[in-house]
């Protein structure tokens, strides 16, 4: 078995910009804002960074390709810098690059910065898939004219059908997920959306992609987040409360979800596979009992629902019961999206994974203010990129 990187890497500094419609901030501004906060948090200077990874997806509407936008914006001193793009896993995968660099012993101090400047696209939602590069030139012809909400709506259609849930009942359960996240987001000054909402608000919102309405969808925003990691054995030299990486796993689909008949579209196989690997790496036997809090990829309410099952927190088909029981609320057994989630932060693709890690880092250090979660043993983050039928997922577990 591979050994993994459990307790070999520590985070000693993090930064996260306010997320939102940052009309007057450039992509470079966001890189710098997240980086400066992380440097100050770690008590380092830019010259201390030995290698860096940058995560951006829609570079055509912000800073452009390659590592240069980051190295030039931060004036990094001719060190190795690599750009990472892996759909919505981009931010976490840039963090993985930095973690592996120090875990391997190649470097002592490494940086990961994720950023996305979505609001310059000129219209609501993500950039149109058929125009951006995400399908490739062949996929542009054969892929259906889908949007992100539609791709995930298909999972809700299946989920309701498989578990014999009426559309009304299903929408009401999904609404509770959004209501919970908006409550948490209202407590977070860095979130994009700060408004508490009711179940009726969600149910009465206009339909975007049936059965998902506007408030089943996460926001779209600009933002950036950064992490500085070091070898675990030197972490205490920098600060008294470093946070350790317990597991970091990524799973990319083999193509069988989309093309082979053993996938039922009521779960996401890559999330499940990454979770199994991560629990093994972190030596977690019973995630429902051991995980203290989570930031999962709630791009849409249905995504959060099935993720709760794929992460083995709720049994198959039973996430609805846990949601109804308040299991995932801020004062519940496993608070989920304590910072407000993608729902309230929006989803600047390259930044989201690092934004989730930022919340877990602050929570585990006990610095989350009025959102502070009691159980500070282990925090989990999860990203899901692509479509439910063909995706790449990451699971990261942090702890003291």
């Amino acid at each position: 078995m591979p050994k993994g990187i459990k307790d070999r890497v520590a985070i000693i500094g993090m930064g996260c910009t306010k997320f939102g419609e940052l009309w007057n901030k450039s992509g470079e501004d966001l890189f710098i804002d997240a980086f400066i906060e992380a440097l100050e948090d770690a008590g380092l200077e830019a010259k201390d960074i030995q290698a860096a990874w940058t995560g951006t997806q829609y570079t055509q509407i912000n800073v452009g390709d390659s590592a240069l936008p980051l190295s030039v914006a931060l004036k990094l001193p001719f060190i190795p810098v690599t750009r990472v793009e892996n759909f919505c896993v981009t931010g976490t995968d840039s963090f993985r690059g930095a973690c592996y660099a120090v875990a391997s012993g190649a470097y002592d101090i490494a940086l990961a910065v994720g950023m996305e400047k979505l609001k310059d696209v000129g219209y609501a939602g993500l950039p149109e898939f058929s125009q951006s590069g995400i399908y490739g030139t062949r996929g542009r012809i054969i892929e259906a004219n889908q949007t992100a909400p539609g791709m995930f709506a298909m999972m809700a259609t299946r989920y309701f059908d498989r578990y014999n849930i009426s559309t009304e009942e299903g929408k009401r359960i999904l609404a509770k997920i959004s209501v919970k996240s908006h409550h948490n987001g209202s407590l977070n000054p860095k979130a994009h959306l700060h408004r508490e909402i009711s179940v009726d608000d969600v149910l009465n919102a206009p339909i975007v992609a049936w059965p998902l309405g506007l408030l089943d969808c996460c926001g779209v925003s600009d933002g950036a987040a950064a992490a500085i990691v070091v070898r675990a054995d030197m972490a205490k030299d920098f600060r008294s409360d470093p946070i350790y990486v317990k597991a970091l796993q990524v799973s990319a689909d083999s193509g069988e979800s989309m093309r082979f008949k053993n996938f039922d579209l009521t779960h996401v196989e890559t999330t499940y596979r990454a979770a199994i690997q991560a629990y093994e790496e972190a030596a977690i036997k019973n995630p429902r009992e051991e995980i203290g809090m989570m930031e999962v990829h709630d791009c849409f309410s249905i995504t959060e629902l099935v993720t709760l099952e794929d992460l083995l927190i709720s049994p198959r088909g039973k996430a609805c019961e846990d949601v109804q029981a308040g299991f995932f609320e801020l004062d519940g057994k496993i608070p989920c999206q304590p910072d407000g989630g993608l729902k309230c932060f929006g989803h600047p693709i390259g930044a989201s994974g690092l934004r989730m890690l930022y919340e877990m880092y602050k929570q585990l250090q006990g610095k989350a203010g009025e959102r502070q979660v009691k159980d500070r043993r282990l925090g989990l983050t999860h990203n899901l990129g692509g479509f439910p039928t063909q995706s790449v997922a990451s699971v990261c577990i942090l702890g003291n």
């Binding site: 058929s130 012809i141 054969i142 259906a144 298909m154 992609a209 093309r259 039928t389």
Partner: protein, 479 residues
């Protein structure tokens, strides 16, 4: 014996009531037609309808035996780039094949049918598919807008298993300028109806029929059915009557249910006549346009075996009303609706489209020789996690396979000319699955598990580069 081996028709699903057009655009029209016209969906054109009719015609036919495809239309999507070659690829015909577009005259349908029969008769070809299709656009408020309808019909011409043999023909050609469209025109121009009726329809059609009857020593009573077009309903009946045909011999021209389908019109009527023909019947079909052409077919015993598979009936009866004139104009690209940034089309890489033409135009996937798993798009390494055989694939067509809607959504964010845009995952009955756009279905009508079939459609028009993107969509099973 050369003649029709198989046939199929296609009428698009929407019916626009002429009352709806008149309510929006009614002004003086000396002979307003009543009833409906068939209207192609926003993602259909004459090329896609020719494919639809071709698919109906070729059900159960060994495609490797087809060595010709003729496409007849006056509304080809390209002025230069052969539609027949695109249609042949969509129908998965082989590349060693004779293809040609017949165009520029409403008699192109009968002309292509005649040449196909003669080519088979000569022995140069064995089986030639003829698909005639038109999607003509009248200018808003014009009589043509009211008269024209959209539709297609396809005939496989061969010399084995013939259901109706070609026994004779006649052709006349005149540069009769009753209607025309120059390269810079979007819409047909036309002259006064009375002149067209008196100098055109009522002269050329009887002339062609008379020449044919004289040539072969036939009388009107020898024919079970005579099918000919005429855009004036009252005069349509009179033309046949004046030649000596009884009302029961005259094939219904579908003017009040479909409209004048242009090049396809005589061929759609021929398909309808074959639906009701008996062995030994003589059928005469006649076209009109820059003269006229008449083709005499004799129905054989084979009709009783083959007819039930090929009928226009399901398309005739499955039409649904399009009760919105503005939507019709938007479908045809006449009303400049707001389409937003999401309608912008990324560059089409024609090199990619050419290399992957079987995957794209033929909806050809692969089937693993080792484990039997069908998969789309074609894979080199088998997707079955328990197999993963490398390079053990055979071509496998999905275009003719049925499936179910495994899941679906109605998306109001995605751009569509006819929102909400619908799509979902299709689970094919015989294996394989993929996510496809849906078409020809109404919001609120879909269910998980609904039977679906594949249909060839225009996916987008890349106006910046002058390219039409064609691909397959899923639709609820018709009939």
């Amino acid at each position: 014996m050369a003649g029709i081996v198989s046939y199929g028709g296609y009428i698009p699903r929407f019916r626009l009531s002429r009352k709806t057009i008149l309510a929006a655009m009614g002004w003086f029209s000396s002979r307003a037609l009543s009833g409906d016209k068939a209207v192609a969906n926003y993602d259909e054109d004459s090329l896609t309808m020719a494919v639809a009719a071709g698919l109906e015609c070729l059900r159960g036919i060994d495609l490797s035996k087809i060595d010709g495809l003729y496409f007849a239309t006056t509304t080809a999507p390209y002025l230069e780039r052969e539609s027949a070659a695109i249609i042949a690829t969509a129908l998965s015909l082989e590349s060693e094949i004779r293809t040609a577009d017949f165009t520029h005259s409403l008699k192109a349908g009968t002309g292509s049918l005649l040449l196909a029969c003669e080519s088979v008769k000569s022995g140069e070809t064995r089986n030639v598919l003829v698909s005639a299709s038109d999607c003509r656009q009248g200018k808003p408020g014009s009589p043509q807008e009211i008269i024209f309808g959209d539709g297609a019909a396809a005939f496989l011409i061969g010399n084995e298993g013939v259901i109706a043999s070609l026994e004779g023909s006649s052709s006349i050609s005149y540069d009769f300028p009753d209607h025309w469209r120059a390269v810079f025109d979007k819409f047909d121009r036309t002259l006064e109806d009375r002149w067209i009726r008196d100098e055109g329809y009522t002269k050329f059609i009887p002339e062609a029929i008379t020449i044919l009857m004289n040539k072969y020593g036939l009388e009107t009573k020898d024919f079970a059915k005579v099918a000919y077009p005429c855009i004036y309903p009252k005069d349509h009946a009179a033309i046949g009557k004046n030649i000596g045909f009884k009302p029961h011999q005259i094939q219904e021209p579908f003017l009040s249910s479909i409209g004048d389908t242009g090049v396809a019109s005589p061929l759609i009527m021929l398909a309808a006549a074959l639906d009701e023909a008996k062995p030994g019947d003589n059928i005469l079909i006649v076209s009109y346009g820059n003269g006229s052409e008449s083709l005499w077919f004799r129905v054989t015993e084979e009709i009783e075996i083959k007819r039930q598979n090929h009928t226009l009936g399901k398309y005739m009866s499955s039409g649904i009303g399009l009760d919105n004139y503005e939507k019709y104009l938007a479908f045809r690209g006449i009303l400049p609706i707001e389409v937003g940034f999401r309608a912008e089309v990324g560059p089409t890489r024609l090199q990619t489209a050419w290399r992957e033409r079987k995957e794209i135009l033929s909806l050809c996937g692969s089937k693993c020789r080792r484990c039997g798993t069908p998969q789309y798009p074609p894979q080199r390494i088998c997707v079955n996690p328990d197999c993963k055989a490398v390079d053990e694939m055979d071509d496998y067509l999905f275009s003719d396979k049925k499936g179910i809607a495994f899941s679906y959504t109605e998306d109001r964010l995605a751009f569509s000319i006819s929102p909400p845009h619908m799509y979902g995952m299709i689970d094919f009955d015989e294996g394989g699955r993929y996510v496809f756009d849906f078409t020809d279905c109404e919001p609120g009508s879909l269910k998980v598990g609904q039977p679906m079939e594949m249909t060839f459609r225009r996916k987008y028009a890349d106006e910046v580069r002058g390219i039409y993107g064609y691909f397959w969509k899923a639709k609820p099973v018709t009939g």
